[in-house]
Symmetry: C2
Subunit: 636 residues, 2 copies
């Protein structure tokens, strides 16, 4: 096998070409072998030969109406004034679908026939073939019904059966095997210790393969050992049409996939100019294509889409499935590194008739960004990004109808809002409330930029001691905003269970060795901390850990629970979710800010109704630290 050196850091199209060339050089089959299956079992598979009709449908001339079948020539001259009467041997009663009796060539509708004894009286002449469905009206024997390379749908298999097919020649399903690697990677269900992670990539890739119409199988996790990996790859390739080797999360010392593929077969590509997903490996071992997928879940998911998808469709001889596209407007500037195709997950929101796109967190490890994304936006390698307001084309991950009916809330993360999202959906599957945690200030700016319907805010104005309202006139002067109270929440220090350091309040944050967990700039809780420090004359620099930022209350609580921090300001419900202790500091209102036009739109009606329901208020109180007496009240 001629081993040319692998191409590196090429654009996706070049990588696909290099992989194809390697497959051809290695003698990989271009198409899977055809198999003959019963037409009943063929749905979802791809035709391996054209389907020609072997009989006509309908297979005979048939009545297209209920009525009487006649010979058209025998009705000549019939009219309102000169009705004619047909004797019983000159007509037959027929129902829709009945074959036309011999010697009859037209049907008179039941409503237009009167009976005089056994004779049928007609008051109009009928032309030949009136209300007759001709043999072959739908399809004639010998006609092309479906081409080769067609993925069979419900109507296709039914039409094939109607045209005489009992069996169809189709491509067998591609078999995809997934081989996870990395000693720190454990199967789902096994408890993970420090430094260990659960193997979720195998499940994700196998599910993607099944969604693409393949059979998929996952092998046990292989440790990062070149010899062991080589023998696992050698054993796996003989039993599949595509082997996906998933890297451990470690992209450094443990990255043996490329080496093993080069040793056992042909390494075509090592590294593709995409983000996320750069460390992709493409090659061939034996006659089986091998895809080395990065360990970061978003990278792995995109590597499947970009590289496995087209290969698997090609093996079946079908066109790859494409996601529907839509256009959207960017509410913010989007910067992107040049030289890489940048795949950005975006949230969409239909605000005031315009579809707006907001980028979600871009890390390759943030799988939830893909779960929560409405669409993918690709910034091509040649662009450094997009300007604010630019119209972009996106690939939809959810239906546009569903997206158009989604309430989008951005701002401070709040557990009661999470609960509302779930309660709304449980009541009506058509209602979705999607939340993005961007901090209170981020939410108000997103509302200003038309990116969302609701800004969730608990932003203190230190000058007045008021929350949220004073900021509105600054950020969106004259916008006529409305404000609905969600709840009051207890804010305080989230500390380890049993409060082992015996913290009593903000003052104690200056203790030596303190590992404080802060919130990001623009977060209401960050503003609150600065305000509380300022009141006490404490400088931020005096708080150990002030520079460490987390994006949500729960992330702060998670860090404290893991022992990586001593304290962080946050809501009581977050402390409670992790079984941590809580040192109260203050009580603050959390409000929902909306524009006047959106306030009264049908889109938001289910949310307002929910907030006024006693059952929901009780559920929020259950979370701990919430007061719901003003829930749903319009305070401005």
């Amino acid at each position: 096998m001629a081993a040319s050196p692998p191409v590196r850091d090429v654009p996706p199209a070049g990588a696909l070409n290099a992989w194809r060339a390697a497959r051809e050089a290695a003698g990989c089959p271009a198409r899977l072998p055809p198999v003959r299956v019963k037409v009943e079992d063929a749905a979802g598979l791809v035709t391996a030969e054209p389907v020609w009709a072997t009989r006509s449908s309908p297979p005979f001339d048939a009545a297209a109406m209920d009525g009487v079948a006649v010979r058209a020539a025998g009705t000549a001259g019939a009219s309102e004034t000169t009705p004619i009467r047909l004797r019983p041997d000159a007509y037959d009663m027929v129902d829709t679908g009945d074959p036309m009796p011999d010697g009859r060539d037209a049907v008179v509708m039941r409503e237009h026939v009167r009976y005089c004894g056994k004779a049928a009286e007609l008051r109009a002449a009928v032309p030949p073939y009136q209300h007759v469905r001709s043999i072959g009206e739908d399809v004639s024997a010998g006609e092309l019904l479906l081409p080769a390379g067609h993925r069979l749908r419900a109507t296709d298999v039914a039409a094939a059966a109607a045209a005489g097919a009992t069996h169809l020649l189709v491509r067998r399903r591609p078999v995809v095997v997934i081989l996870p690697t990395g000693e720190e990677v454990l199967p789902i269900g096994e408890p993970t210790g420090a430094g260990e992670i659960t193997d979720t990539n195998s499940l994700m890739l196998a599910t993607q393969a099944r969604e693409a119409g393949c059979e998929a199988r996952c092998l046990p996790v292989e440790p990062d050992d070149p010899a062991g990996l080589a023998s696992a790859v050698s054993a796996a390739v003989s039993g599949c049409d595509l082997l996906i080797v998933v890297a451990g999360s470690s992209a450094g010392r443990g990255d043996y996939t490329a080496r093993v593929v080069a040793e056992l077969g042909m390494l075509a590509v090592h590294g593709v100019a995409i983000r996320p997903g750069h460390p992709v490996v493409l090659g061939v071992v034996g006659r089986t294509p091998v895809l080395g997928a990065p360990g970061y879940p978003v990278s792995a998911a995109l590597a499947f889409d970009i590289f496995a998808g087209p290969l698997l469709a090609g093996l079946a001889g079908a066109a790859p499935r494409h996601r529907p596209r839509a256009t959207a407007r960017l509410g913010r500037e989007l910067a992107s590194p040049p030289g890489l195709d940048d795949w950005v997950r975006v949230r969409l929101a239909l605000v005031g008739g315009t579809m707006m796109a907001t980028p979600l967190p871009r890390g390759a490890g943030t799988l939830t960004s893909l779960v929560r994304a409405d669409a993918l936006l690709t910034v091509p390698a040649g662009l450094a990004g997009y300007q604010r307001g630019e119209q972009v084309e996106v690939e939809l991950l959810r239906g546009i109808d569903e997206i158009s009916r989604t309430i989008v809330a951005m701002g401070s993360h709040d557990l009661a809002l999470d609960l509302a999202a779930s309660a709304l959906r449980a009541e009506d599957p058509l209602v979705t409330l999607a939340t993005s945690s961007v901090g209170s200030l981020g939410g108000l700016q997103a509302l200003r930029d038309g990116l969302c319907h609701i800004a969730g805010s608990h932003l203190l104005d230190p000058a007045t001691g008021e929350y949220t309202l004073p900021h509105l006139d600054r950020i969106m002067p004259g916008a006529g905003l409305r404000v609905v109270r969600l709840a009051h929440r207890e804010q305080g220090l989230i500390v380890a269970a049993g409060n082992p350091s015996g913290l009593t309040g903000i003052e104690d944050l200056t203790r030596p060795g303190m590992r404080y967990i802060n919130r990001q700039r623009g977060a209401g809780t960050r503003v609150l901390l600065d305000h509380e420090l300022g009141k006490r004359g404490i400088s931020p620099g005096a708080v150990g850990g002030y520079a460490r930022e987390e994006p949500t209350h729960l992330a702060v609580a998670a860090a404290v629970a893991a022992g990586r921090g001593d304290a962080g300001l946050g809501i009581m419900a977050a402390a409670r979710a992790f079984g941590l202790d809580f040192v109260p500091v203050t009580r603050e209102p959390y409000d929902l800010v909306v524009t006047a036009s959106v306030m009264d739109s049908p889109l938001l009606a289910p949310l307002w109704a929910l907030l006024r329901s006693a059952r929901f208020q009780a559920a929020v109180t259950e979370l701990g630290g919430y007061t719901t007496t003003e829930m749903g009240r319009c305070i401005r």
Copy 2:
């Protein structure tokens, strides 16, 4: 059970409401019971409760780069001019994904570290948490990951597993049972006699149900007997969540579904104001919803979409799947009966940058119109249709990408063109050639109206004896059209095998008792017949059966093969496809007419290449009656 009289001929929304009310009155469950399944088995199912993260992902602070983990405070003051050296106990080598060692809070990238013996030299200070992925960066324990009522995709199950789920509470799959009726209906694979048809509706409906995420089962065909049908329905309802009773093709005497449902349970709706699909029955037997679907296949398919789809999604607590939509321009006026929602199957073609829609045959029996349709257009009950040029919204049945890459040919039906469609797809799954049989004149008019890329024509000009070319200047004067020769074809009389009547030519069509099968007005073969009759001084009225029209050569041959006609003018290949005899009359050219701009577009390049290939020319010659010496030649 309170039995209010059924509503009749209501619009679909009213029918859905009446059915829902009947289900509520009968105590049908609104949702299917939840079941707990392993997260590995949950893909495609719908969550029955919200999924909250029970652990954070990543579960620990981790290095986000390959390099050395340090304490940020220990790097203060490092610069190009004042590098600092860290002793081995002051740093740890880490790879991406490794947990941060105790006491380290930042990572320096490998590329920025030099080693002096065992000491690591840094030339820049680093801030705390540089290149550190925080615990919970993706999702924090306690956070809402997925709401209830969410259909699980690959990324969802992976994210749920990463957030600690080993099992998920989901709705079980709905079970749909299909009960076909009618004594003329036979299972697939059984030979059909006169008046009998194959049961393709059961396969279609079961496949539609599976495509909607259900389990589906088909019962044996039940004859049209009220007592037998009643006991079959009674037995079936206990084992499913939806029973679909499919009428035989006969909508008259045999329509017992409504009566049986009314007797056994509650008949909510009998007849819906839609076309096709009017005779829909909606009711409840026991606690199981029953849908009576019409026997015409297009009606049955639409009845599933409109009525079963929303019910089944509701049972799973999920939003019904919606097809993507697009806008298209109508190239022709479209009339529609008032008072009915009219579901029109349309062919789409991207011609000169505009997406054009052409209605396909509208009969409820023409299942191939649904197979060949690119989209569905609904003309609402309140409208009498659309004007030519109007912009309409359609529901896509194929991907818009695929549609945009489809070559659309309209005009006279030709078997060589069918063969080309299949050969193009077999070579490249991305290339589709879609043909519509509308006759030669219809094709040229469609080209004029911008509805297609190619008009297939063999239209004789009786005045000059020339084909196609003289018509172009009449239909599209000054359009600068190009013409590519497909082939010459033998036209003649298609007669029964062995030519039992001993027909020798056009003259014999005036024989008494002749049952001629004609082609529709505008068909090239119709023009040819009229020309041949005229040459001989024969009036059309002298030909028995002149008024009987069929849309294609194959349909003519099918009628002759079935013994329902004695002769029809058509191509030799059609006679051969049915094993019939052929009496040659003339040889004619079949040409492809295109606009100059489309001629040289990349879209058509694969077709022109195919026409010039010797292998394809040989395959066409094989069909019989074709001469391919000029195939692919540009004759204008």
